[in-house]
């Protein structure tokens, strides 16, 4: 599904990613761990197409297609989803209107008509229940005044609505208390299938107790310095990142 080959990326001329190689197959969950500043969030942003980063070398293939020249929305239409570490507040646009717009743009890109209103409502209701989201919450302005937990839950709600092929969860566990963490992880697990894949980016092993990864990669200074199976996360938790440097 996703092949990253010798990926180098920089921002304002400063190189952050220094040769990343990664292959993700459908049905897999990969965890990317690493200390602050190792390039985890940059990797997420570059895959999603953030134009502040320049891809200087290497390639990103999504379902065999080089996506370097694709705009963020085109990547989204192909099935890439990024759950933001810091979701942006957009006053004046409700959660419902936002997700309706996103769904219908996705359909438009596939040459489909807008989703009928009753179908949309039913889908919203179903996914909101999955994430234990209150109905009143959906009419609030997007992320405005949301708690950290509400923001992250809302990200996973959007993921559930959009049903992406590849979901990248960037520090989805940060700012979550244990109950919210359970709800969010449960939501992600319910959405897993043999057709889609998940990249979990996290600093701590905590989230990986709930979303069990098939592979764990350790990022340090823009490179993957160690890869292994889920036990690697526990070893990191015990020994710290200095151990793999």
């Amino acid at each position: 599904m996703l092949q990253i080959k010798n990926l180098h990326a920089s921002i304002d001329g400063k190189e952050i990613l220094k040769g990343i190689n990664l292959e993700i197959k459908p049905g897999e969950v990969h965890a990317i761990m690493g200390p602050n500043g190792s390039g985890k969030s940059t990797l997420a942003s570059v895959i999603a197409g953030h134009d502040a980063f320049e891809q200087t070398q290497g390639e990103i293939l999504f379902e065999g297609e080089d996506i370097q020249e694709l705009a963020p929305e085109e990547r989204a239409h192909r099935g890439v989803f990024l759950s933001f570490q810091y979701p942006v507040e957009i006053p004046g646009v409700s959660v419902t209107n936002f997700i309706k717009t996103a769904i219908n743009e996705l359909r438009k890109s596939k040459g489909q008509e807008d989703m009928p209103a009753n179908e949309m409502l039913a889908l919203i209701k179903q996914k909101a229940e999955l994430l234990e989201i209150d109905r009143k919450f959906l009419s609030r302005s997007l992320n405005e005044g949301f708690s950290g937990g509400e923001k992250k839950r809302n990200e996973i709600f959007q993921m559930a609505m959009l049903n992406p092929k590849l979901a990248i969860l960037d520090e989805t566990d940060s700012g979550l208390d244990i109950d919210a963490l359970r709800v969010v992880a449960n939501g992600v697990n319910r959405l897993r299938s043999q057709e889609n894949a998940v990249i979990v980016i996290t600093h701590y092993q905590r989230l990986l107790d709930y979303i069990i990864p098939d592979f764990v990669h350790v990022l340090h200074d823009g490179k993957i310095v160690k890869s292994g199976e889920k036990e690697l996360a526990h070893q990191l938790e015990e020994k710290g990142y200095d151990w793999v440097k």
Binding site: V88, V93, K100, T101
Partner: protein, 438 residues
């Protein structure tokens, strides 16, 4: 001959052929004298520092349309809020169109200024209110006062709640190669009365038009006035709009100004609080592009204690468009416990767009709460990426952010059809279809 000289010459002819009573004649001759000595304001005047009238003064405007022109309703229907029932006062090239209008004298007067100025039964009201709220030193207001003969006259008696909105629409047909218009509206709202008014100036053909309009509104005790100005004219049209609002105790007046088009638009919006516990609301959305220019000059005179004013103006300037916001708040010594709020936020979406924004607070009382703020920025790049990462294309994402930006003002509109209309105008301006209604 320069425009000023031509106007002064026209006035002599106008005075000769117009019958009027002494009171009105006196007001007009005072006004033309003031215009004669002050002329058109230039950029040397502090109030006109960022707005130049010079390009307009070179246009050979005609003051009076030579013939009566008519338009078909089907051709102008789109400029009306035709989805809802309303009273209508429609003027074509400055002349009343009975065909397009719907007036009333039943329990209230929703009719013409020309008849109010000429019929004896209105004389008492005219003596008391006509030209009483205006700034007598303001040269362009004086110019209007000197020439104005027609416009809306609305008098809502005590306790009357007008059951449907009133639309005031001034059309110009472009029959004259260049036309100058002087619409004049007088609105008197009695104690506990309630009225909603929508005002629009619209040219139908791309010949230059300069409209120099004056509206006076008197809100008596506990009156509620909800006023909407829709400015979405052709690029050949310019508008100088003066609105003077005098508010008595416990009255509540709100003016919403939507400036979406026209070559040059200048809004002078003046509120005078003449009683305690008055509420004044001034809101605006400006969305322009090309080389359009929009200037909002507001004044709130807090003359009495325990009053509030609330100003919120949002501007989006594309291409090489330019904007001005100058918000003056005067709090007199006796106006203790004043609560005055002012906010002006601007987005510059064009590299060559400009906005000059200036809060101007003159506070002479010591126990007041006055706040103001202004921002100038671009669309938030993080927000843009967030929306695009969800599959919303760049253009639609920008439109969505502009909506979000303007929404605080739009959500305060009390007539749903206006909200829908404004939403459509904004969508057209930005060139997108949004998947939902606001």
């Amino acid at each position: 001959m320069e425009l000023k000289e031509r106007l002064l010459a026209s006035y002599l002819a106008f005075e000769d052929r117009t019958e009027m009573d002494d009171h009105v004649r006196n007001i007009r001759s005072q006004a033309i004298k003031n215009f004669e000595s002050n002329g058109f304001p230039s950029k040397k005047d502090e109030e006109w520092k960022y707005t130049s009238l010079n390009p307009l003064l070179k246009v050979p405007y005609t003051v009076f349309s030579k013939k009566e022109n008519s338009v078909e309703f089907k051709d102008v229907k789109k400029y009306f809020l035709h989805e809802i029932d309303s009273y209508k006062l429609v003027f074509i090239d400055g002349v009343y169109s009975s065909f397009l209008s719907e007036t009333t004298h039943q329990g209230m007067d929703i009719c013409l200024l020309s008849s109010a100025l000429s019929k004896p039964k209105y004389k008492m009201v005219m003596d008391r209110f006509y030209n009483q709220a205006t700034d007598k030193n303001e040269s362009l207001t004086s110019l209007n006062t000197a020439f104005a003969t027609e416009g809306a006259y609305i008098n809502i008696p005590k306790g009357k709640v007008v059951n449907k909105p009133i639309q005031i629409i001034h059309f110009s047909t472009g029959q004259e190669s260049a036309l100058m218009l002087f619409p004049r509206n007088l609105i008197v709202v009695g104690e506990n009365a309630h009225v909603q008014i929508i005002e629009r100036h619209q040219s139908l053909y791309e010949n230059p038009v300069l409209t120099n309009a004056v509206t006076e509104i008197f809100a008596n005790k506990r009156a509620i006035v909800d006023y909407y100005k829709i400015q979405n004219d052709l690029p050949s049209a310019s508008l100088i709009d003066h609105t003077y609002i005098s508010q008595k105790q416990d009255s509540n007046c709100a003016v919403h100004t939507f400036s979406f088009g026209g070559k040059m638009t200048r809004n002078n919006l003046n509120f005078y609080q003449e009683g305690e516990h008055v509420q004044s609301t001034l809101k605006g959305i400006t969305l322009v592009g090309d080389k359009q220019h929009v200037d909002h000059h507001t004044l709130v005179a807090h003359n009495q204690p325990n009053c509030e004013s609330f100003q919120e103006y949002k501007g989006i300037y594309a291409d090489q468009s330019t904007g001005v916001f100058n918000g003056k708040v005067i709090v007199k010594k006796e106006a203790q416990k004043t609560n005055a709020y002012q906010q002006n936020n601007n987005l510059l979406t064009g590299d060559k767009a400009t906005i000059n924004t200036k809060p101007q607070l003159e506070i002479f009382a010591d126990d007041v709460k006055c706040s103001h703020g202004c921002t100038i920025g671009q669309l938030d790049k993080k927000a843009l990426f967030y929306l695009r990462a969800r599959g919303i294309p760049e253009k639609e994402a920008k439109a969505l952010l502009m909506y979000a930006f303007a929404n605080d003002v739009l959500s305060a509109v009390k007539i749903q059809e206006i909200k829908t209309r404004i939403t459509k105008i904004i969508a057209n301006k930005i060139g997108v279809k949004l998947g939902f209604d606001i």
